[in-house]
């Protein structure tokens, strides 16, 4: 008994520095942020936060701009989520083959990961430019398809999708790694048995690869949804939420409330909403993984 207590005490002692750091840099800001979301607090004009209960949360759903931001974030997710999974899965399949030069392409596809998203945003702003952008140049002057050229970031129909394209470019490399890890983990014997049974490529894909990659799909799926919900960097760099409110997303709206309108209380409410969305999805993921293990 004494030994058990001593072991627990020692464990706690070793954990203490980490707990202190987590407490100061994670729990304290989180609790303060959660508290502020229940207050009316203008950073500039209020003397101190005034507790208002659920007023901020009720305001969310009558706030036109919040609803626009929510709609845009969902629309972004609808484009970003399936395309990232599809593109990265197909590329992982290609890179998993034993073709010459595969390692070169593996390295190349990972390059976007090391480019900061803010820098990529500046680069893509030029690529998407109406008059001198390389995309319109390729479409209009090289492919002779001027009818499909656009002012990509200034048109309501294309602005959000252009931002999603930048997000996909940035993140698909990481998803390819996750899929590749899953593909490498499939035992070679399964493929060999399937080959003996006369399974063709499509049958191998449907009956062997996809079922065995369920874990990877879940991981990539949840990760991409979270990336989509917290989209911010490329929006700030490329459109600042415009034109009009076409690309106003949740995190940008939280930032605006905090640092442009100085409404810290309300900004925390928006941020908490985003955090709650991400948390719910993560919890669902954990539940799913646990049920899979059982």
């Amino acid at each position: 008994m004494r030994k058990k207590i001593s072991t627990t005490f020692n464990s706690l002692l070793f954990m203490f520095p980490s707990l202190i750091i987590i407490g100061i840099f994670l729990l304290y800001p989180l609790i303060t942020s959660a508290y502020l979301s229940f207050t009316d607090y203008n950073f500039v004009y209020s003397i101190k936060p005034v507790f208002t209960g659920l007023v901020n949360f009720r305001s969310l759903f009558s706030d036109t701009y919040f609803l626009i931001a929510l709609r845009n974030t969902i629309n972004y997710t609808i484009v970003f989520f399936p395309l990232t999974i599809l593109i990265s899965f197909l590329l992982a399949l290609l890179l998993n083959s034993k073709t010459r030069g595969v390692s070169f392409f593996q390295a190349t596809l990972l390059l976007p990961i090391v480019v900061p998203l803010s820098l990529a945003g500046v680069m893509f702003t030029w690529i998407f430019a109406e008059d001198f952008g390389i995309l319109n140049y390729i479409l209009g002057d090289i492919l002779k398809l001027p009818q499909i050229t656009h002012f990509w970031l200034a048109e309501k129909e294309t602005a959000l999708n252009s931002l999603a394209a930048v997000g996909i470019w940035k993140y698909f490399g990481f998803c390819v790694i996750l899929f590749l890890a899953g593909l490498k983990a499939i035992p070679i014997e399964i493929y060999e048995s399937a080959e003996i049974d006369g399974a063709n490529s499509l049958q191998r894909l449907i009956y062997i690869i996809i079922p065995n990659l369920r874990g990877s799909f879940l991981l990539v799926g949840i990760w991409t949804i979270i990336q989509a919900i917290k989209v911010y960097d490329q929006v700030v760099v490329m459109t600042k939420g415009g034109p009009g409110n076409s690309t106003l997303v949740l995190y940008l709206y939280a930032w605006k409330n905090a640092f442009e309108y100085f409404e810290m209380g309300y900004a925390q409410t928006v941020a908490l909403f985003v955090g709650a969305l991400a948390f719910i999805i993560s919890a669902l993921f954990n539940l799913f993984i646990k049920s899979e293990r059982k």
């Binding site: 500039v44 309501k156 009009g244 640092f259 309108y261």
Partner: protein, 419 residues
């Protein structure tokens, strides 16, 4: 013996510390938005200041554009992080002063720096409740900048080769038609004009048009004007220009769009601040550009705005900071350097008056006569967002000018817009 040794050692250490601190003198800490370090001769100003004040040293630090919150936090907690903050606009100074965080400059605005020696629009922009809490660092007026060579080709210049300014919006529309070039398919290859409708400029651009056309930015009820006939005419003119491919919308996603259009010859006129005439001139040639008043701006003026510097109450060298601001930051050489290299004005009238024989500065002076600055507003940022969103929606042809003005009135009805 040992005790005596320790006492002597302590005395020597204390003397050392005292001598060291005396020899260091005073350190002036200055924090500025990063771009100032590229455009402003800050180091030379510091060198000059040190010649007159040999005991002073400088410590510079950079901050991002409009990073108000970190400074507000630090100053609210009585932290000394800087003696001078060259950040943001006087609109942000209002936010700082709402918490009583700034030192006023009233005591030094005397003699050659008396209030009447400053350009009125800029100094009034820096005045909060009757006291000056900021000093203009980058004064500009909203105007048109036009390509003389294109105007000449279109027959819009006088015998001296100077552009004949359009007198009305209808005139202006005809100018744009003459200046716009389209290819066989009807695609615009050179726009008559590029207007800065980005979030950073929208409210300035809109009210510069209103001030020029009406001579005031207020309506009959003394509210900001989103209802007059001129407001409707201005929006209709813009929308029509965009719809017909005469005006570029490059600024909807990039606030540098108009200047890039001018530099690359994609636009014949830009509607932005006057300072761009120097920046664009470096690329296309100064002789090819002219500042052109917005219709009626010579009579009614336009909108001026400025960036500013502030001294927080937590500064440790307030008098020294004020001395640096007057002796170097507002020195003639500093002002002329900025005018020559970046087209920017400082607050004092003298440098501008000395250059009135040059066409660019003569026109700027004339427009400045009746130019006003925007009022300080608690909900400035919200109004900017509303006006930007609604006018951008109109420019995307999603709504009419009438609907645009109605939406702005309705959405800004509950804002705190102090005049």
């Amino acid at each position: 013996m040992f005790k005596r040794f320790v006492v002597i050692l302590i005395i020597i250490m204390l003397l050392g510390i005292a001598i060291t601190s005396l020899s260091y003198g005073k350190e002036l800490k200055i924090i500025a938005e990063a771009w100032y370090f590229d455009k402003y001769p800050l180091e030379k100003a510091a060198e000059n200041f040190i010649k007159d004040h040999p005991d002073v040293t400088f410590e510079w630090s950079k901050t991002g554009d409009f990073e108000v919150a970190p400074l507000m936090l630090a100053w609210s907690r009585d932290n000394y992080i800087t003696d001078i903050a060259i950040v943001a606009t006087p609109a942000e100074a209002v936010a700082f002063q709402a918490k009583g965080l700034l030192v006023d400059f009233e005591d030094i605005l005397k003699g050659e720096y008396a209030k009447d020696k400053w350009l009125e629009g800029f100094l009034s922009d820096c005045t909060i409740n009757g006291k000056v809490y900021a000093i203009p660092t980058d004064g500009e007026i909203m105007t048109l900048i036009a390509r003389k060579d294109y105007a000449s080709e279109a027959g819009l210049t006088d015998a001296n080769g100077n552009i004949i300014p359009p007198r009305t919006l209808d005139d202006f529309y005809n100018y744009l038609k003459k200046l716009t070039i389209k290819d066989a398919s009807g695609k615009t290859i050179r726009y008559g004009m590029d207007v800065n409708w980005s979030r950073e400029y929208m409210i300035l651009t809109y009210f510069s048009g209103i001030q020029a056309l009406r001579g005031t930015i207020y309506d009959e009820n003394n509210d900001l004007d989103f209802s007059s006939k001129e407001a409707l005419n201005l929006l209709s003119f813009w929308r029509r220009g965009v719809e017909e491919g005469l005006i570029s919308t490059s600024s909807l996603v990039d606030h540098s769009g108009p200047r890039n259009s001018m530099k690359s010859g994609l636009a014949a006129i830009m509607w932005e601040d006057h300072a761009r005439v120097v920046e664009v001139g470096k690329v296309v040639g100064h002789d090819k550009l002219e500042i052109m008043p917005i219709p009626d701006a010579l009579t009614n003026g336009t909108i001026s705005y400025c960036m500013s510097l502030m001294i927080p109450k937590t500064a440790q060298n307030i008098e020294l900071a004020k001395a640096f601001v007057l002796e170097q930051f507002n020195a003639d050489w500093f002002a002329h350097y900025l005018m020559d290299n970046w087209g920017k004005l400082l607050g004092l009238k003298k440098p501008l008056e000395a250059r009135k024989n040059e066409l660019v500065w003569k026109t700027v002076s004339e427009i400045l006569e009746n130019t006003v600055s925007l009022p300080h507003m608690v909900d400035h940022a919200r109004l900017v967002d509303i006006v930007t969103t609604e006018i951008q929606n109109m420019l995307k042809l999603e709504q009419t000018p009438e609907e645009t003005l109605a939406n702005i009135r309705q959405k800004s009805a509950n804002l705190d817009l102090i005049k």
